[in-house]
């Protein structure tokens, strides 16, 4: 059997943006200081007619445009998100129908804060390896929520990426994957609640940094690699500072992370965050390149991946769908009033 890995990929980022400074000015804060402190200049905002289902469908259709697989050969769809449009009715049913993959397939929605999409990739890998499916579709997408005035309001954004996993025409082999999990209550959203709550600084050292460090170190031990052997590295990016800091701590350079560091331009797309970064790297990666990725999901856990780009990348029609940076540049600014309207801040029962 050929190696298992990514057969195609696609991303989707809504066009609307709001600047960090515009949010800060509403709350009487110094926008420049906040923007610099978070490392986020602006964030993407979904329009009234965009949600996790529409972002997942558009990202998947982009992936399908780049390759020539028959959607009927997709045997499993797993959508990772913490903003599924329905509490009960899987987003994957809508995606499956919209890409023509129904009815003979497995579908389930995943939730693990910001790492549900990477968990979906691992499930698809396992099913392909077991010979149960030919291709699996893994998506990480969110239209994340933040309470007005909360620190998260500067970062919670919208976007996602989709990956077709298989063992034929693989453009990036998944050489190794590793996960770690613990009960760490750094960020959560209780049932029936509209906005998440978080532990402030507790989200840093015992949560994000501890899990990513543990996962990344063990992954490199298993892969018998060192940071300098990778051409690109992507880490979960809840803000612009954490991924830069963890990269440095682990021994990666800024040159290795800059292609996959999208958060300064679109904010934190939660389940989409590390995967939009991976899509951006795949936009430019060449055969022989080696990619390192570690996601992080609050609650908490990390999934790590060691990937190698294959010669098949030359056959992938990457130009058939917009690159991540093309979508980053295709934007329209909105003011806080419009933002408040589309994010449901103005409505009452």
């Amino acid at each position: 059997m050929d190696k298992i890995g990514i057969v195609s990929y696609g991303a989707n980022i809504p066009r609307w943006r709001i600047k960090t400074e515009d949010i800060a000015s509403v709350w009487g804060k110094d926008g420049k200081t906040i923007s610099k402190g978070l490392g986020i200049n602006e964030k993407s905002v979904p329009s009234m007619d965009q949600d996790t289902a529409t972002i997942s469908v558009e990202a998947t259709r982009a992936a399908l445009k780049r390759c020539s697989i028959n959607p009927q050969d997709i045997g499993a769809i797993y959508i990772g998100s913490e903003s599924h449009p329905y509490a009960v009715k899987p987003t994957g049913t809508i995606v499956g129908e919209a890409i023509g993959a129904t009815p003979d397939l497995m579908v389930a929605d995943y939730e693990f804060a910001c790492k549900a999409g990477t968990a979906a990739i691992q499930s698809c890998c396992a099913l392909v390896k077991a010979g149960m499916i030919k291709y699996g579709l893994a998506v990480g997408a969110d239209t994340s929520q933040a309470a007005p005035g909360d620190a998260l309001e500067y970062s919670a954004s919208a976007g996602g990426a989709a990956f077709i996993i298989g063992s034929e025409n693989v453009v990036a082999n998944i050489n190794h994957t590793y996960s770690c999990t613990s009960d760490t209550p750094d960020f959560w959203r209780r049932a029936q609640r509209k906005y998440p709550a978080h532990g402030g600084r507790f989200t840093g050292a015992p949560a994000y940094f501890k899990h990513i460090t543990h996962c990344s170190t063990n992954l490199m031990n298993i892969a018998k690699t060192k940071p300098e052997e990778y051409d690109y590295a992507i880490f979960h990016q809840p803000n612009g500072k954490f991924p830069v800091s963890i990269a440095r701590k682990l021994g990666f350079t800024h040159d290795q992370i800059k292609q996959g560091l999208i958060v300064p331009y679109i904010g934190n797309t939660y389940s989409g965050a590390s995967l939009v970064g991976l899509a951006s790297v795949l936009d430019v990666a060449k055969p022989g390149d080696r990619i390192f990725l570690t996601s992080y999901g609050s609650g908490a856990g990390s999934d790590g991946f060691d990937l190698s780009v294959t010669e098949k990348m030359n056959d992938l029609s990457r130009e058939n769908a917009p690159s991540v940076f093309q979508m980053v540049e295709d934007k329209e600014y909105i003011d806080y009033g419009t933002y408040a309207k589309v994010t449901d801040l103005l409505y009452w029962e």
Partner: protein, 138 residues
Amino acid sequence: MGCEGVARFWREIPQRYNFIGNKCGSCKRIFFPPRESCPYCRRKSMGNMKEIKLNGKGEIVTYTIIHVSSEDFEDQVPYPIAIVKLDEGPQITAQIVDCNIDDVKIGMKVESTFRKIRQDGSTGAIYYGYKFKKVNKQ
């Protein structure tokens, strides 16, 4: 509660999600949305209408800007609604998104994008389907 239109919408999912139209086996005309029979060939088309997937691309024939909408679209005004001539021939009415309303032009090339169309309040079903956006050269 909030589910009166669910069955009708469900029946229309193939056309709303994937542009499934049909083609008269007699005169070869293409219809979207699909028709039970061809209005030109009538009896000759009965049982001879073949399903066909359209590519979801087309051109704006004419448009208007909606300033006073139905209740479901009040939060989106002003927005453009256009008659789009699909590449395969049928003309349909659809919302144009992802562009400034001043940029909408007759003759503009457009492609479909998957969007939320409406929902039955905060507890009912969410209905998805096509809208159109300007074709961006990559």
